[in-house]
Symmetry: C2
Subunit: 355 residues, 2 copies
């Protein structure tokens, strides 16, 4: 494979010195881009887009053609794992993902098959290989998975939820059954991320979208513990390099010290936690990724420039910061506003990296 | 008026000694009760229920007939203020509240009338008087309002929102306009709560449902500052007593120290912040109210008993704790499960109040 020309992301995630703060954007290949909407229309639906490596590669590359981003992220969905486990993922317009066969009993949970990555999830590793090849060493490729707890919420609720009552009732009523499911998912996610690493992912991220809706004690027991197991099980790349990992618990600002203790390389931080506070909490143990509020992207470029400066100043001087939003970019954002953000980071970040 | 027979809530909110931890439940008069659903059906719709003092009184009293709760809370809605300001509140089944005329320009914001509490909101003070009379001194009556920022989100978005993009864009793009709206709302809320106090409310609560979706800097500037102004403007009761106030920012666990600095009497805490952590943050300056996860109410009574014990132990020994959920009770909860929670607090809390 080609040598990596821009390794800023990997260096920042490992807290090595960089000349400027690298940037990538959660959901950078997404509906705010007209070219994404065109490819998706051609695919017919979202799942076909995910499951066709050529199309997944095409949309992964689109934001890189527009903006000088420092990483690509595999185009996929966090629900590929439950889909591969036979729950029957489907999408209804305007309502988000749903499962035909949610898990509502211990018997259903214990009857889950082993995750068949080489077969059922072959389209993910194929897409990873194709994207890595297409990137041709320009920027690193990030692989990802949902966290065991976040996957479990969708698998038990059967869809998104406001109160997560089925999933939380399972934690309260049958914690042993919940632990069996989470343990199985942690093993599956570890294999899944390692398969992405073997296929060419140069960094991996675990999205714990719903860890922040748990009490602190339950977060430790049912979410963080399993992410820590995954971190322990991640392998190096084929050429023997460490593949940096990022744990992102949305609304997890109060858990950052414990997240750092898992041995992960970096943590995602959303905009409800100040980066200065976050940095003090992790105390140099890990890097941080974030944290501009994605809703601000509706503001004019001059407002965005000032907002980016505040994020950079909040992290302050030194290594270990990857610029990102605090959550995924949303469909109505004008693409040129994201361009202004990326430009602002390039312009204002070098001052924080001078000796 | 009759002397108050059970003043545990008021004493706990003022951090005075009590023999057991008092309990009330957010949305205790609500859809989980069949008798509430019957009264609502009789009213025809939710707004008529709010606007008819006899019916509002009837549903306020219903949970007290079932459970040995230590307070009543005025049955009303946080959106009565925007409705009185002419935005045209309406409810569509399954979609939540909406406004016919959301605020989308500085001109619309500056054209808002003064809040007419004696006229447009007379039904609220009439209900307060009737409920206080009907309670006849059994337990105290809590009045409430939405916070200025939370009211503003609905007024600008025109409905509930996932990303609050119109409201946040206003903060970023036209902060001076946002401050004019928030300042007007803070004045209105202060008068509104004082009118409730004059009508008989013995404690008041400010619901800042959406303060926790802001960055820490914006939370201080656009939400907390205005709640602090309201706290400063609250009056005593007609008989010269201090009327304790509670500020509740959902997802505001990281702001508790600053909340305590407003001079409020107590803060609501949701279940994502441990009460031991919360208590350390406020360091004896204010009381705390919370914080059982409402989704746990779907678990069996023995699971709930253990969960209540963990909440009580987390706060620990001494005064200054009011038991509550971390958010409102939801419609599908079996009423007897709430009964188990109330009973568990009565059974397990006295040990934390012995000298």
């Amino acid at each position: 494979m080609s040598a990596l020309q821009n390794d800023l992301l990997l260096r920042a995630l490992l807290r090595e010195d960089v000349p400027r703060t690298p940037t990538w954007i959660m959901r950078q290949a997404g509906r705010y881009l007209p070219e994404y909407r065109a490819t998706r229309a051609r695919a017919g639906n979202f799942l076909t887009l995910c499951k066709t490596p050529e199309l997944a590669c095409e949309v992964t590359m689109q934001p890189l053609a527009r903006f000088p981003l420092d990483a690509a992220i595999l185009f996929s969905d966090i629900l590929t794992i439950p889909d591969a486990l036979g729950l029957g993922l489907y999408f209804t317009e305007g309502e988000g993902p749903k499962f035909e066969r949610p898990l509502r009993s211990a018997a259903q949970i214990d009857a889950l098959p082993e995750l068949d990555i080489d077969g059922q999830l072959r389209y993910v590793t194929d897409a990873t290989r194709l994207i890595r090849q297409t990137l041709n060493g320009t920027v690193p490729l990030i692989g990802f998975s949902g966290s065991p707890w976040t996957l479990m919420t969708y698998m038990v609720e059967g869809q998104g939820s406001k109160d997560f009552r089925h999933a939380k009732t399972l934690l309260g009523q049958d914690p042993a059954v919940a632990h069996r499911l989470l343990s199985k998912l942690a093993t599956g996610v570890t294999h899944y991320l390692n398969a992405q690493i073997e296929a060419g992912a140069q960094a991996v991220m675990i999205f714990d979208t719903w860890g922040g809706i748990l009490s602190p004690a339950w977060y430790r027991e049912f979410s963080l513990q399993y992410m820590a197991r995954i971190v322990d099980g991640l392998q190096k790349s084929a050429d023997g390099r460490r593949v940096p990992n990022v744990l992102f618990t949305k609304n997890g600002g109060s858990h950052l010290s414990e997240i750092a203790a898992t041995g992960c390389d970096a943590a995602g931080v959303d905009w409800t936690c100040d980066l200065a506070t976050a940095r003090a909490a992790v105390d140099g143990r890990i890097a941080l990724q974030g944290n501009l509020d994605p809703s601000l992207l509706h503001c004019d470029p001059d407002v965005l420039d000032a907002a980016v400066q505040r994020v950079l100043a909040s992290y302050g001087h030194g290594n270990g910061h990857v610029f990102n939003l605090g959550h995924g970019i949303t469909p109505q954002v004008p693409p040129e506003h994201l361009g202004a953000v990326v430009q602002a980071v390039r312009e204002h970040s070098p001052q924080y990296h001078r000796a």
